[in-house]
């Protein structure tokens, strides 16, 4: 096995995989994208200049792979179909809540769902900063942003996330109440 692959696998595989998983919210797709990350990494590893740390370099590749995947998913066909199929616009989460999340407490599930409705940028920052526990500097390097952009996006992301979670909670309580009313 390639020594570069081995090295990278040992150090970063699970981290990058987790990032991709939370980005695309699906294990199979995350596995595919992980493959893509390795292909790009091995192709350009000799050009890796050590300007940034290996870790942020790997994350920046993962980020590009994820963004490309989103673009591909939204091919021109889907874009046209969306225009005519209003019902599909309501449906947001294409995949069911994964097992790993489903067994967690309610708040975590709520947060997972709330993340769905954040923008890609917001999602990336939140995942990198809190789930991967990267520093602001590392996040900025991985995303190719300035640190202040990371900070403002992170701030905005938390607000959106909170709003999303509250909305989701409100809906849930409504249905709960309805159920209660019907029962009484």
């Amino acid at each position: 096995m390639d020594s570069v692959f081995n090295d990278l696998y040992e150090k970063y595989h699970q981290d990058v995989f987790q990032f991709l998983f939370y980005m695309v919210r699906n294990r199979e797709q995350a596995e595919d994208l992980m493959q893509e990350v390795y292909i790009r990494v091995l192709k350009s590893h000799q050009h890796f200049e050590g300007k940034s740390s290996e870790k942020t370099w790997l994350f920046s590749i993962a980020r590009n792979v994820a963004i490309d995947a989103f673009r591909k998913q939204k091919g021109w066909k889907q874009k046209i179909m969306e225009k005519f199929d209003w019902s599909s616009q309501q449906v947001k989460d294409e995949y069911p809540i994964p097992e790993e999340i489903a067994i967690q407490k309610e708040e975590i599930q709520l947060m997972y769902q709330g993340l769905e409705n954040c923008t890609v940028d917001q999602k990336m920052v939140v995942i990198m900063r809190y789930i991967q526990e990267l520093s602001i500097t590392e996040t900025a390097e991985a995303l190719g942003w300035t640190e202040s952009k990371v900070k403002t996006t992170q701030h905005r992301a938390l607000k959106v996330l909170k709003k999303n979670m509250e909305e989701l909670l409100g809906k849930e309580e409504n249905t709960n109440e309805k159920v209660r009313v019907e029962r009484s």
Binding site: Q14, F17, Q104, I108, E133, E172
Partner: protein, 389 residues
């Protein structure tokens, strides 16, 4: 749900509690599928269709001419024959004067004749000089019997001797049906204004046999008399004065020969080209005899008559400068190249006898080629103009 309000801090903590997601696959499996994928990528999807397209286009190119051959054969043949004609035209162009007789043969119908360019002259005339000078080469024919004077126009500003040598490299003697003689295998230089030195290498071939020697000396004599700026040619061999020529012994110089007055004839060494107008073998002391010889030609040497039988005139020698010829014939003359050559041959012969111009009286036609038959016609500067490329 117990809580409906989260602080940022609580959110952050909650995020940190998000479950760690692991990839359970074996790294070896990942690597294997990875190398499979990278290999697969070597042949992108577009290669197969594009190869197929290329093959189809190639087939089209190969097959199309055969499919349409029936339709195109005729025009292709026409094109081909046209090309051949073009080629022969080109050959004429590289040569000297376009031969209008052959052009007539090719073009059919009277209309073509009417739009045809006027028959072209062969010599160089004063009007053409225009800040240029003339170099006349004397080129032997393939039997080394006839010397064909061939003239080129060159810029005046350059040195004559340099041009003489450099232009000589461009002469296409063999294409004209003559023998390849120039450039001389020698270094040429001017010693003074009227004397040219020819420096030959020690292994020169100009002394190999009496024929060679005679030819060499004759050509040089001819060169001196044809080029006004030369009076004398001196020899040196590898820098040392003199040249060894078997029968002559050692020669040091060639002087301007006594001019033999010659008449001019039509010479066609290559029937595809226009003819040369060349001096004959004999010399004459009397212009009337010289002109008379031109009606006969010289079969032995392949010289055609230059004055056609119907071109009849009386000779009227009234002054030293002008020769007057009065037509006495009954026949109508045409504006044709054979009469242009005839007039040129007369002019060149008149020049040999020292006349500056020729006047035709009682001409049945006003214009032949470039010549206005009603005015006096100046003799040419040099015979047989060629344009070198």
């Amino acid at each position: 749900m117990k809580k409906s309000e989260w602080s940022d801090h609580e959110l952050e903590q909650l995020l940190q509690q998000m479950p760690k997601i692991k990839d359970h696959r074996d790294p070896r499996d990942i690597y294997q599928s990875l190398s499979l994928k990278t290999k697969k990528r070597r042949a992108p999807a577009w290669i197969v269709p594009s190869v197929a397209t290329l093959a189809a286009v190639l087939l089209l190119f190969i097959l199309a001419p055969q499919v349409w051959q029936g339709n195109f054969q005729d025009s292709a043949l026409k094109q081909e024959s046209k090309d051949v004609l073009d080629n022969s035209d080109k050959m004429e162009m590289t040569k000297i004067m376009p031969d209008d007789d052959t052009k007539n043969g090719i073009s059919s119908g009277h209309q073509d004749i009417s739009i045809m360019a006027a028959p072209a002259e062969t010599a160089i005339y004063e009007e053409e000089l225009d800040e240029q000078q003339v170099i006349t080469y004397t080129i032997p024919d393939q039997n080394a019997q006839i010397f064909v004077p061939v003239s080129v126009l060159v810029p005046k500003n350059s040195s004559w001797v340099e041009l003489y040598q450099s232009q000589a490299e461009k002469l296409t003697e063999e294409q004209w049906g003559l023998s390849d003689y120039f450039p001389l295998n020698a270094t040429l230089s001017m010693i003074d204004e009227k004397t040219m030195n020819i420096d030959v290498p020690e292994d020169h071939v100009y002394g190999n046999g009496s024929a060679n020697e005679t030819l060499f000396i004759s050509i040089l004599e001819e060169t001196i008399s044809r080029n006004e700026n030369l009076q004398k040619i001196t020899f040196s061999t590898n820098g040392n004065p003199g040249i060894m020529l078997g029968n002559y012994g050692e020669r040091f110089e060639v002087n301007k020969p006594e001019t033999k007055k010659k008449s001019y004839f039509i010479f066609r060494p290559n029937t595809q080209n226009s003819p040369f107008i060349v001096p004959g073998i004999e010399g004459f002391s009397d212009i009337a005899a010289a002109l008379e010889s031109m009606r006969a030609g010289n079969v032995t040497y392949g010289l055609e008559p230059s004055i056609p039988a119907e071109f009849v005139f009386d000779i009227n020698v009234s002054s030293q400068e002008q020769l007057v010829l009065t037509f006495t014939g009954e026949e109508q003359l045409l504006d044709e190249s054979k009469y242009v050559y005839c007039i040129e041959a007369i002019l060149l012969t008149a020049k040999e006898f020292g006349y500056k111009s020729v006047k035709f009286e009682n001409s049945p036609i006003t214009q032949i080629g470039r010549f206005n038959m009603e005015n006096e016609i100046k003799v040419p500067v040099a015979p047989n103009k060629v344009i070198l490329h």
